[in-house]
């Protein structure tokens, strides 16, 4: 142990990454401790990739405030960091009489949440916007601000922003305990002790465990909630322009149909409670149900090819709202229970943590800003540019130049999965039939090898 950091952040999910960025820019000496071989290996590895407006968030909640602050900051920083944003808007759709009856309340709720550009739509208006929708729908409303992002380049960008400006990252570094001497923390990790004045618990699916371990108690319990998805080939993306949302229930936002920033179309997620915090298992009956559900919403989807299937775990707790807590006298902040909107809210949560520690540090005068690889389908991609060294993964058109760039720098991947998240190699329709071996070869010779 050579130095005492100002802040040690436990967990490099999207929330930990955003907090690392904020505190580093605010002038703190930050270390991020992640138990996974690579970052984004917990809840943040699999989501719907929607940048929410908060139109349906609980009124007056911390969640709402963080989503809205986070969404705004994403819009300001994204150009500088080369992060994509597809402002496609969402349609909330009612298929039954009961759902239709709930629309006015949902619209009023959105307006109360400050989302005042929602537009009620009749059946014909919805169908004019989305002609491929099953025409049995009854009515809906449009939320123009709901947008699509790259769920991985954003958090990678946040953390890289921190790393380029002095933060440290330790991967394969599990926090196993810690003591606070009234002034500083000494965390016991699988890589040895780490000292810091403040600790931020951003451990996602293990947030309650970390509180328990470091404070002796946790005021919430994580109840993992699984979501499974089916993703269709790029051709299917022509079938929907908007994010298609059902009328939500108490428990979940329901099954969404939307494009991805990479030009695919996804159907999901489910909401299935489980005890296991590690494994988000897929199951065939549920995948078939999603496939059928997708075709019910967009009948033409029945003829489209499935590209991939995946599942993620939401770090839900017994509370509806986020569990944000400053532990007075313990120099610790818990950012827990960030269940289903953390991608949208991460920058807002980070701003909140930044304000909590305000006045302790001096903001960096001229921080270096990273420029991320642009993988969005509707933007100019590397395969279109000279000097790209040829295409490595043909379905996703990932170039050798992009692949090699992803293998260098302070945030180079430590696992095959991490490489895929940075480049999308092998994630297209053939799932590695053509390039699987070539990608593995590249990683064996120039990267981290297989995980």
């Amino acid at each position: 142990m050579t130095q005492t950091y100002d802040v040690a952040i436990i967990g490099a999910g999207v929330v930990g990454c955003a907090i690392a960025r904020r505190l580093t820019l605010d002038g703190a000496r930050v270390v991020v401790l992640e138990k996974g071989a690579d970052i984004l290996d917990g809840a943040s590895k699999a989501n719907s990739a929607i940048l929410h407006t908060g139109f349906d968030a609980p009124e007056g909640s911390v969640e709402l405030a963080c989503i809205q602050e986070g969404h705004r900051e994403y819009e300001t920083l994204r150009a500088g960091m080369n992060l994509p944003l597809d402002r496609c808007g969402a349609l909330v759709l009612a298929w039954t009489k009961e759902q239709e009856a709930r629309l006015p309340a949902l619209i009023a709720h959105a307006r109360a949440n400050g989302v005042d550009d929602v537009v009620p739509l009749g059946r014909a208006e919805v169908l004019a916007l989305e002609p491929n929708l099953n025409s049995t729908l009854r009515a809906g409303f449009r939320v123009p601000g709901e947008s699509l992002v790259d769920p991985w380049s954003a958090p990678h960008g946040y953390l890289l922003h921190a790393l380029l400006n002095g933060a440290d990252l330790e991967r394969s570094c599990e926090v196993q305990g810690g003591t606070f001497d009234g002034d500083r923390w000494t965390l016991a990790t699988s890589k040895g002790p780490v000292a810091a004045r403040h600790v931020v618990n951003a451990a996602g699916l293990y947030g309650d465990r970390i509180d328990q371990m470091l404070l002796g108690e946790a005021h919430f319990t994580i109840r993992p909630r699984k979501g499974q998805f089916v993703v269709y080939d790029k051709r299917a993306a022509r079938l929907a322009r908007h994010i298609l949302l059902p009328v939500p229930t108490d428990k979940t936002k329901g099954i969404v149909v939307c494009r991805t920033i990479w030009g695919n179309l996804l159907v999901g997620p489910t909401a299935e409670d489980q005890d296991d915090r590690e494994t988000a298992a897929l199951d065939a009956p549920t995948l078939k149900m999603l496939d059928a559900k997708g075709a019910e919403i967009l009948p033409a989807l029945a003829d489209e090819e499935v590209t991939t299937i995946y599942a993620g775990l939401r770090p839900a707790s017994e509370f509806k709202d986020y569990q944000l807590r400053t532990h007075e006298g313990r120099n610790m902040i818990t950012v827990g229970g960030i269940r289903s909107t953390g991608l949208s809210a991460a920058l807002g949560l980070a701003a909140h943590v930044g304000r909590t520690l305000a006045g302790e540090y001096q903001a960096l005068p001229d921080p270096t800003i990273p420029r991320m690889a642009m993988l969005a389908e509707d933007q100019t991609r590397d395969w279109q540019l000279p000097g790209n060294d040829g295409v490595l993964c043909h379905c996703e058109k990932v170039t050798f130049r992009e692949a090699r760039a992803a293998l260098t720098g302070p945030l180079a991947p430590q696992s095959f999965a991490g490489f895929k998240r940075r480049t999308r190699a092998t994630m297209g329709r053939c799932q590695g039939f053509y390039c699987g071996q070539a990608v593995q070869d590249l990683l064996d010779s120039e990267g981290p090898g297989h995980d």
Binding site: A281, L282, A284, I309, V391, F433, G436, Q437, A438, D441
Partner: protein
Amino acid sequence: MTEFDVIIIGAGPAGLSAATELKRLGVARVLVLERERDAGGIPRHCLHSPYGMREWHRVMFGPAYARRLVDEAREAGAEIRCQTTVTALRPGGEVEVSSPDGVHILTGRAVLLATGARETPRAARLVGGTKPGGVMNTATLQGFATFSGGLPFKRPVIVGTELVSFSALVTCLTHGARPSAMIESGARPTARAVMALAPRLMGVPLRFGTTITAIHGRTRVEAVTLDTPEGAQDIQCDGVVFTGGFRPENALLRNSPLAVDAGSLGPRIDQYGRLSDPAYFAAGNVLHAIETAGWCWNEGRRVARTIDAALRGALPPLGSTLITAKADTDAIKFALPQVLSASDPSVAPAFDRMQLRLSRAYRGDIVMGSTTHRVESRPERRILLPLPRVTEPGP
């Protein structure tokens, strides 16, 4: 914008044999575009035999076979550009390509689509469980054997019993892996029965009526759950090879204005191998997933001759008569050619017989126009019938 007589998309057996034949016929500017680093198509990746029987009457291994195809095309005078991906097909033979220099447009008086076929991956089969490493298709397995000098597992499960499944089996056994099982959802192997003896002879259990429902393991495969006639069963393994379930590599096609056959998922062709835009032709597995390399090689040669005729203005105009093949059940997966153009005694059709494929076993009549054929076949087998004479009115 550069103009060629013929642009061939894909340097596999079909594309390369077409290139060689076009040069032999005296066509001046023949360009083959291949997106991989080297030409040769699937056989280049396949360190096993048999290849080359139809072409050169000898049994060859994939890489040597691919090399010979490439050498012949080059010696005949065709230009082959690798690391060049065709990214869009436009009307009239204009193609958009991406190469290390970025994007540009090339034009061919004729364009041959020879992009081949690929297997159905795990995801599209909706197999549950986790997503560890060590799950792949046969072609990727072959790539490991050929280029990496080793397989990423020792005890994989092989899913499927098509011909290609047995190539997976043999490659495993010759590269230090002993599959823990080979499974088939049907009651019999999809490939010919003799093949079914192979795994047993090699000590690998072959299990019928069995499907894979889940894969387990976090970073590497640890086990799979099988649905068997005796109920659900977990078996230990360290990899899964999903074999077969071939489908055309048709993304380019499906995003183009060219007509696609709903059954084969490949392009709709006439007996000359001509697509709905007469500047485009097709040959090889993009038409029919899946045939042997020799079959595709032969098709490439034959379509080359009709392309040559087209360049000379000797090909009858594109017809509009659709041929439909009807069975008593919906067992027909596809039948091609799908269109009959007028015939001309001076130009031999590239497709002088109907090629049919069944999705399930069928015994009964198949009606095409005014002709009826008695057919008995298992699924995924090649069925050849005479081209119907009929000239039904077009739609």
